[in-house]
Amino acid sequence: MNITEKILAKAAGKKTVHPGEIVDANVDMVMVHDLTGPLAVEAFKKIGTPKVWDNKKVVVILDHQVPAESVKAAELHKTMRNFAKTQNLTFYEVGRGGICHQVMPENGHVTPGNVIVGADSHTCTYGAFGAFATGIGSTEAAAVMATGKIWFKVPPTIKVNVKGKFQKYVTPKDLILNIIGNLSVDGAIYRAAEFTGPTIKAMSIAGRMTLCNMAVEMGAKNGIIAPDETTAEFLAGRVKKMPNLETLQSDKDAEYERTVEFDVSKMEPQVACPSSVDNVKPVSEVGDVPVDQAFIGSCTNGRLEDLQLAAKVMKGKKVKEGVRALVIPASQEVWKQADEAGLLKIFTDAGAIVCGSACGPCLGGHIGLLAAGETCVATSNRNFIGRMGSTQANVYLASPATVAASALTGKITNPREVKA
């Protein structure tokens, strides 16, 4: 079996499982946030069970409309705060957590081999730690809170094998955009995407999270990477107990629906153009695209490594007149690390605004929205019509280096062309 099959088999109490089989799996952790949680709370109350199945396995995080930007959002937060308190759940208050997908692994809620579901599509991020993690809706999250179980159709797995060393200012974000551009937005629909190969083995946790985070953008049920010493090093002191990682490797004779090969050694920085995540071009072919806003952050690219890269490009320079640049660290922990490393000062000196840890403009619900006719180059994960505000605005997706370079020049720019 491959890792996804091994985890689902164990969770369903079976020796083996096969793609297409429907299994009833035990869930190790369920997460809801301020925009999906309230519907889940309402559904949970309708089920009529007084208590959640296991209060240690339900996490509530406020991160989308944070801090509350309207009375309606404040009411949603209040609903979640009260539910967490009544049910005695792990709760991340405004200012004490950050973006859910960063907060979960940082605080030990993600263990290799776990089955984790979250009422957010980017829950697949935790595959970076060798967990089976996938997004679900609010009603289903309520059902999991009540029963601790969920059904899954065991997915066929696509192996994405990656080799080569990244060139300067080419990042895991460029790789995943290139992969999605090749496979298309429904290229992995109903499937697992297992990332393997020497490039993945050498990749940091932050980079692995970026890859698995965007697996859903090609339709994948989950993205997953075999846990190794890099995983163990990050999780040490965070998780209660590390499982034996040897049991969480794909077997030599594991079956895959197909294998796709990528080589990053000659890869240029990549850009996903409006309004589909698979409309991907090398930055040199994007043409002359003036930008009004540059956004560095999100569950895809708001980690310390991402901010370090952006700061390296922006240090001692100024954001172009007429452009606003937003930097949003993915969590309070990242915020503090970035502050201690002097990165926040570099951004502020450059004329960028550094906002509190939250989802920000990514989903167009809160700060940093776009007016009709405006363009944003962003490190986030979706460029759909209306995603970041007006339906007449355009969003381009790129790496932190490319977005930082574009903020300086006022148009989409190859970071390798910014003079030191």
């Binding site: 519907l39 949603l76 009422a119």
Partner: protein, 167 residues
């Protein structure tokens, strides 16, 4: 849920994402009828008016891709959509729709066999779809019994309540 329905078709293309089905800025709305006022406004500002009479939505590949927001199928259901038929679905949307009691059917070839305004007849239990306007018929793979049960109960919560009370 009725096991047989008849309604006019509204046709959309491939990769209809949940941000165009229901933009993120409306996720703070709680009442499903308020959500319904904004259904698909990113693609068709007239959709809500069309849907009022009760319609069947036809999609291409990967219908409902993107965010896990259950508010997307809720907005469709409460705007008057009786069923969504597409070449393929994004999996979270597919599950969400079933869980809130909005029937969804995967049907290869449907998007090229239906035009806006065609009259469609759907028999869920038999897995049959007929385009009454042009006579084209489709037999689809039936959903597993436990999923049909969820739909028959009107959604996952009602289904769960019934099953838990049985115990």
């Amino acid at each position: 849920m009725d096991s047989k329905i008849k309604a006019k078709a509204v046709v959309f293309g491939n990769n209809i994402d949940t941000d165009v089905i229901l933009p993120g800025k409306y996720l703070i709305l709680v009442d499903p009828y308020d959500l319904a006022k904004h259904a698909l406004e990113g693609l068709d500002t007239q959709f809500v008016e069309k849907a009022k009479q009760g319609v069947i939505l036809i999609g291409g590949k990967n219908f409902g891709c993107g965010s896990s927001r259950e508010q997307a199928p809720l907005a469709l259901k409460y705007s008057g959509v009786k069923c969504v038929i597409a070449e393929s679905f994004a999996r979270i949307f597919f599950r969400n729709a079933i869980n809130i009691g909005l029937p969804v059917i995967e049907c290869k070839g449907i998007s090229s066999a239906v035009k806006n305004g065609d009259e469609l007849a759907v028999d869920f239990e038999a897995g049959r779809i007929e385009n009454v306007s042009n006579g084209k018929k489709f037999q689809v793979e039936k959903l597993p019994p436990f999923i049909l049960e969820i739909l028959a109960d009107g959604g996952l919560i009602e289904n769960l309540r019934r099953r838990m009370n049985k115990k």
